[in-house]
């Protein structure tokens, strides 16, 4: 050890962060106290340490006062550790001779007694000063970034992100769970507030994705496993059996026409169950890829009663007119099985979208009880020219509605279901009101809590709807019932609501009720979160790294989020966010490398070879060397959790940045404050 006798010279800085810290912590007093501690040669308080002058101050002091350690007490290290490490490095020191104290998020913002907060700041600062004295010089390791990217989810967010990456010349895998990309947007008729035809603006993008040479599109596929780390992920994708050879199918759809089922008779999920399809089908006319698939649950050529997790069994009972129709193309393959593919990518964009609130959960609104109660998404299909009714609004009982009630905030802004505002329902309700009026001329009643129309042209659209003679009743609907009190109500659905503007309880009979169901996380959001090592907010949407400054980043470097999987948002916001996610991924790819936090562990020569640590490592980074009879850590595989270090019975494993002595000093420090 060359520097064994080197004097420790610590520079300490406490940041006011404007009033954020200074209002609750007496910063000059903290600086005064720290100045009295051993090894501290300089102690300052400063208004904004993260500002350029603040960082320059550190650099200047390192040179002028021959500092060899730096401590900054300011905000969370998750926010500015990198900033100050860089400043330390710019001053000519190894960046890891720096330590940070969190006196904002963990102190000034959460405490109310100035004296107590000041004492706490002193204690935390003392701990850092004692810790930093033990710090060692460490090297940052650079790891190359695989330039290929993965986009998970083929809705408008995934499509946008994939296209942005592909246009920049990067190879992209786009994995979509459904047989076609397009997501929810493909189901919409028009988009608010401009009333663009959703298909007209989306389908060109879909086919662009489908044919782009840089994009490998895997529909009807799911990510099943993710290994590795930023820049170097190994991803396993399950490609579900379509019973169609994707390379051979031309999308002619002759098989569908020739299917032994002359009429479609199975539930068509793309049309929200309002229409029917055959066992061999294509989800919708503009589906991308233009490849059919066979549903083994209902196809006659498979045995009935497939149990979950089991492979369908071919029965060979059908005449197989589809195979005949396919002819020489020979694309139908009843023996196809799910296949697992492994790909290597450097960055991942998760754009797995949302699901709509299940209206059955609010039985007072009668969905599933009264046939003429619809969800908004069903109405999207109902008014859609390519929908099950060809765009005619024909109710489930065959009638055309003369009056329609649209109930807002179904499953939103409600403590019993979801507390959040789903952001899009007010606007899509206005859009549906407009479309329904256009299609049927019916009287339209909107029942709302508040009209929320923030967005370019949104308020104007609301005004237009008011002018069109739609009724707006402010009040949360109590119930939808077929309990008729008057003659006029007989045979109708009665909406009971307190009109909070007029101060009366109203009963409004209508022919059709539309429930503006809110947006919620996908059912398997928790599984997906674990797969990609992300976090979820308490409501279940994926958590961004920082709500303002890192809205598309996650806590897992190299994994980005876009679209409604992060929270409800409309199409323009989703597209913008997808672009931001792609830009983040591009920045990483074009940098070409990532710097890894040097917090890996290593094994000392004194290791006795007891092998206790080996089973503890989830990354199999620890192995037993049969020649030295000791354990060794493969630094490339170590991710720096320190579990082996905490468990080594003879103290023979050291974790860089979190050495035992560093932590013991920190413990001593936090408890030594006077």
């Amino acid at each position: 050890m060359v520097n064994f006798k080197e004097d420790i010279r610590i520079g300490f800085y406490v940041c006011h962060c404007g009033h954020n810290i200074a209002a609750m912590v007496d910063c000059p007093e903290v600086a005064k106290y720290v100045a009295t501690l051993p090894n501290v040669v300089l102690s300052r308080d400063y208004k904004y340490m993260c500002s350029d002058p603040g960082q320059e101050l550190i650099q200047m002091d390192i040179r002028e006062h021959k500092l060899n350690r730096v401590v900054v007490a300011s905000c969370s290290p998750l926010l500015h550790e990198h900033t100050f490490r860089s400043a330390t490095e710019a001053g000519g020191l190894n960046p890891f001779f720096f330590h940070m104290v969190n006196i904002r998020e963990h102190n000034s913002w959460v405490h109310t007694d100035r004296k107590e907060a000041t004492e706490k700041a002193k204690g935390l600062s003392q701990a850092a000063v004692m810790r930093v004295a033990k710090h060692k010089s460490l090297d940052v390791k650079r790891v190359p970034v695989n330039p290929e990217a993965l986009v998970v989810g083929g809705g408008i967010a995934g499509i946008t992100a994939a296209m942005a990456l592909a246009k920049a010349g990067k190879k992209v895998y786009l994995v979509e769970r459904e047989p076609s990309i397009g997501g929810h947007m493909a189901k919409f008729d028009k988009t608010f507030p401009t009333l663009d035809c959703a298909a007209c603006i989306l389908t060109p993008k879909m086919s662009e994705v489908g044919s782009h040479p840089n994009i490998t599109l895997w529909s009807y596929s799911e990510v099943t496993k993710v290994d590795g780390y930023v820049g170097n992920y190994t991803v396993q994708v399950k490609r579900k059996a379509r019973y169609i050879d994707e390379d051979l199918c031309t999308g002619c759809q002759d098989c569908i026409t020739q299917c032994v089922f002359k009429e479609p008779k199975f539930e068509d999920l793309f049309n929200e169950g309002l229409g029917k399809r055959k066992p061999v089908y294509i989800p919708f006319p503009q589906a991308t890829p233009q490849i059919v698939l066979i549903d083994p649950e209902v196809c006659l050529n498979f045995k009935r009663g497939i149990k979950p997790g089991q492979e369908p069994v071919v029965s060979d009972k059908c005449k197989k007119t589809c195979v005949e129709a396919c002819g020489e193309k020979n694309a139908i393959d009843f023996t196809q099985k799910d296949e697992l593919e492994e790909i290597k990518v450097g960055t991942i964009i998760v754009a797995t979208g949302f699901k709509t609130f299940e209206a059955e959960r609010l039985p007072q609104y009668g969905y599933g009880i009264y046939p003429n109660v619809y969800t908004a998404l069903e109405v999207e299909r109902l008014v859609n020219a390519s929908g099950p009714t060809g765009g005619d609004v024909i109710l489930r009982d065959g009638k055309e509605p003369k009056s329609i009630g649209i109930i807002h905030c179904v499953g939103s802004r409600d403590k019993k279901t979801h507390v959040w505002c789903s952001r899009v329902c007010c606007m899509y309700s206005l859009k549906l009101a407009h479309l329904l009026k256009e299609h049927t001329g019916a009287e339209i009643y909107n029942f709302y809590i508040d009209m929320r129309t923030p967005g370019k042209g949104y308020e104007e659209f609301y005004n237009q709807l008011l002018d069109e003679g739609n009724h707006f009743i402010r009040g949360r609907v109590g119930e939808v019932t077929d309990w008729a009190v008057t003659k006029e109500e007989e045979g109708k659905l009665v909406i009971r609501v307190e009109d909070t503007l007029a101060g009366v309880v109203r009963r409004i009979p209508v022919d059709m009720v539309v429930l503006a169901t809110g947006l919620e996380p996908q059912k398997d959001a928790q599984d997906v979160r674990r797969l990609f090592n992300m976090s979820c907010g308490s409501e279940g949407f994926f958590l961004e790294r920082h709500p303002k400054l890192a809205p598309v980043n996650t806590f897992n470097d190299g994994v980005y989020i876009a679209g409604c999987c992060q929270g409800p948002r409309d199409i323009p916001d989703t597209v913008a966010q997808a672009g931001a996610a792609a830009a983040e991924a591009l920045a990483l790819i074009d940098t070409g490398y990532v710097e890894q936090e040097p917090n890996t562990a290593y094994i000392l020569a004194d290791c006795c070879g007891c092998k206790s640590c080996i089973p503890l490592c989830p990354y199999t980074a620890i192995t037993y060397d049969e020649t030295t009879l000791k354990a060794v850590i493969n630094e490339a595989l170590c991710k720096g959790c320190g579990t082996c270090v905490g468990s080594c019975p003879s103290g023979s494993i050291v974790q860089n940045l979190f050495e035992d002595d560093e932590i013991f000093s920190e413990i001593e420090g936090v408890l030594a404050f006077k």
């Binding site: 006795c608 092998k611 089973p615 503890l616 905490g646 019975p649």
Partner: protein, 328 residues
């Protein structure tokens, strides 16, 4: 020139350490040839006054074994410290507290009450307890004070070196003498034994699998041990991985698991905490119920993990016992 003076002394100990000195066998003759033994109560007749009258630092080295429990032991430790150039804590008790330090789980009163009243076989109708002073036949003997706390030697006086073990092995003892006599001494405060853990010299190491996951812990009386297989692989708590080597793996060679008498390596502050950490982390089940089921096999963690090291552990003693007060 006179031969260097050496002293042996014993405090709260079983006498086993003295045996080790004798176990040097013929080598002891070599030692006796080179040194002048000035104090060795177990074998030779010297008095307190003899030592007291010696000039300070006139003894080259004192090997003191046993923990410190009484005022007499403290006084001797202080005296010998003053008279010696090197004070060596000899054996687990002086080094770590040893078996006597398990008494740190009980209060002074609990111990006296048990030993002079409740212990089976005790006949003491008047419940007489030892007194510091008493008069008998015109004499007024003075007895040492029984302290509240059992201490290691270095918790009472400054210690230069440690020779670990219960007892230390002849090899280590001889090596220590060699170092002393040749003047080739390591830095002050060193433990005179290797700094890796026991597995390093245990033959059973090669039989330990790399994927251990404990599903149960057995205690030594609950099973017949495979004489070759790693004890941990047999589900038996073995302190070896957390214990300094140097003993030559005598226990594991004798088909008994290591109980930790050599104490931790220099890199560990609390031997018990470390073996707990290692054993527990490698338990198989993940749910509390399953984990606790496995842990039923360790009914007395303090006695198991701190068999020799309680006095030297981070907490030293059961924390809620009556503290000071001399309990006269």
């Amino acid at each position: 020139m006179s031969k260097p003076k050496v002293a042996f002394y014993w405090c709260a100990s079983c006498g086993g350490c003295e045996e080790t000195v004798v176990d040097l066998a013929e080598d002891i003759l070599g030692v006796v040839e080179k040194v002048d033994i000035v104090l060795w109560p177990v074998a030779m007749d010297f008095k307190y006054k003899d030592i007291e009258s010696m000039p300070d630092r006139s003894i080259v080295a004192t090997l003191l074994n046993g923990a410190i429990r009484t005022s007499e032991q403290e006084e001797m430790a202080v005296l010998l410290r003053r008279k010696s150039q090197y004070l060596i804590a000899y054996g687990a008790c002086a080094h770590l507290g040893g078996i006597p330090a398990l008494a740190n789980q009980f209060s002074r009163e609990q111990i006296l009450k048990f030993n002079y009243e409740d212990c089976p076989g005790m006949v003491n109708e008047r419940k007489t307890r030892p007194q510091l002073h008493f008069e008998e036949n015109g004499c007024s003997p003075h007895l040492p004070e029984f302290r509240n706390v059992v201490r290691t030697l270095d918790q009472v006086v400054d210690v230069d070196f440690y020779i670990p073990g219960c007892p230390p092995t002849p090899n280590l003892t001889k090596a220590a003498f060699d170092a002393l006599l040749s003047g080739k001494l390591p830095p002050k405060g060193s433990v005179l034994a290797p700094d890796s853990a026991l597995c390093d010299e245990c033959d059973r190491k090669k039989t330990k699998p790399s994927d251990i996951a404990f599903l149960e812990f057995k205690r030594p009386h609950q099973a017949l041990f495979d004489p070759e297989k790693c004890f941990l692989a047999q589900g038996v708590v073995c302190m070896g991985p957390a214990t300094r080597s140097g003993c030559g793996a005598v226990c594991t060679s004798g088909n008994m698991p290591c109980t930790g008498c050599f104490g931790p390596t220099s890199r560990v502050r609390d031997q018990g905490a470390k073996i707990l950490s290692s054993l527990c982390a490698n338990i198989g089940p993940r749910d509390e119920e399953g984990i606790n089921k496995v842990l039923e096999g360790i009914p007395d963690p303090v006695g198991t993990f701190y068999r020799y090291g309680l006095a030297k552990s981070l907490l030293r003693r059961k924390v809620n016992l009556p503290t000071s007060g001399n309990g006269h």
